[in-house]
Symmetry: C2
Subunit: 177 residues, 2 copies
């Protein structure tokens, strides 16, 4: 993985792919969940809002450490993505159980997931709406991309394990980012 | 357009399509903007968070009326979507200029855009983060779908007029919504 310039991050998140959210609890144990409820809130520094249900085991680690990694899987990882969504970190080490490799991040303690096409190291910057709607705001403080997966297709969740895979790319003259 | 059951709404928003946001200012004038920074925050009642920049002409109408319509265009409307993004409602009646038809909504004053595959009538429910990050939370109070466009492909924005069109659909056994 090579560094990705932070102002490029929105191009990965804005299309709405399913992502994996990796955390590391204060105990040192890493965990991972799937996430589709996320959006950009700022270009630079890149900021992302996301909803992490308090029913998810990852919620506590995210709230208490204020750190996570958002990793973007390609369609090649679709079965792993669903497997991540179908079990809880409560029952053991999900990353090991699912054969998900990890690597050390540069600025946060949550792990990178190097099988994914991109990894975004994030710090929580706002928890105003966590109590009421489980909504966290994150700043992306470092970003990594796998150059071999630059053209990889992502997946978009439509409910109950149904996904749309990226199709063709079109380009129209736009004045705006 | 026929009514769409509200608990089905997340299946349209969660995949992350570009949407059109229609508003009607207190003056009575309707306007429309493109939006890619949105996410689900609750299944039922379906709630959506979105970022509408205070630089957008629509911001004031959304904040002052607390109402809008989120309309989901198919790829057939891609050129219109970019045209909507390339001009401002400050300079005139965008809907008329761009040949966008409108229809009366059932519960809000903002117009429906019946050329789109779905229309979500929304009321603002939380403005806590509007001042700091232009983040509105909406509740979808009524939803409409065009049955002829049920399989229509949506588009996902990757920056500067580059879009990914929906590709193939895959389905994997999932225990969760």
């Amino acid at each position: 993985m090579i560094p990705l310039a932070l102002p490029e991050v929105y191009k990965l998140i804005e299309p709405g792919p399913v992502v994996l959210l990796a955390t590391r609890a204060r105990t040192g144990r890493a965990n991972v969940m799937t996430m589709s409820w996320h959006m950009m809130t700022e270009f630079a520094p890149p900021s992302v809002a996301c909803v992490v249900s308090s029913a998810n085991h990852s919620f506590k680690a995210l709230r208490s450490t204020g750190e996570c990694v958002i990793a973007i899987p390609s369609v090649a990882m679709a079965e792993t993505v669903v497997a991540v969504g179908n079990c809880s970190g409560r029952s053991g080490d999900k990353l090991a159980m699912l054969g998900l490799a990890t690597a050390e991040a540069s600025l946060v303690r949550a792990p990178l997931l190097p099988q994914c096409l991109a990894n975004l190291e994030c710090r929580v910057t706002d928890m105003t709406l966590v109590e009421r709607m489980n909504l966290f705001v994150l700043e992306v403080v470092a970003a990594w991309i796998d150059p071999r997966q630059r053209r990889a297709k992502t997946i978009h969740h439509c409910g109950y394990g149904a996904f749309i895979v990226d199709g063709r790319r079109i380009s129209l003259p736009s004045a705006k980012a």
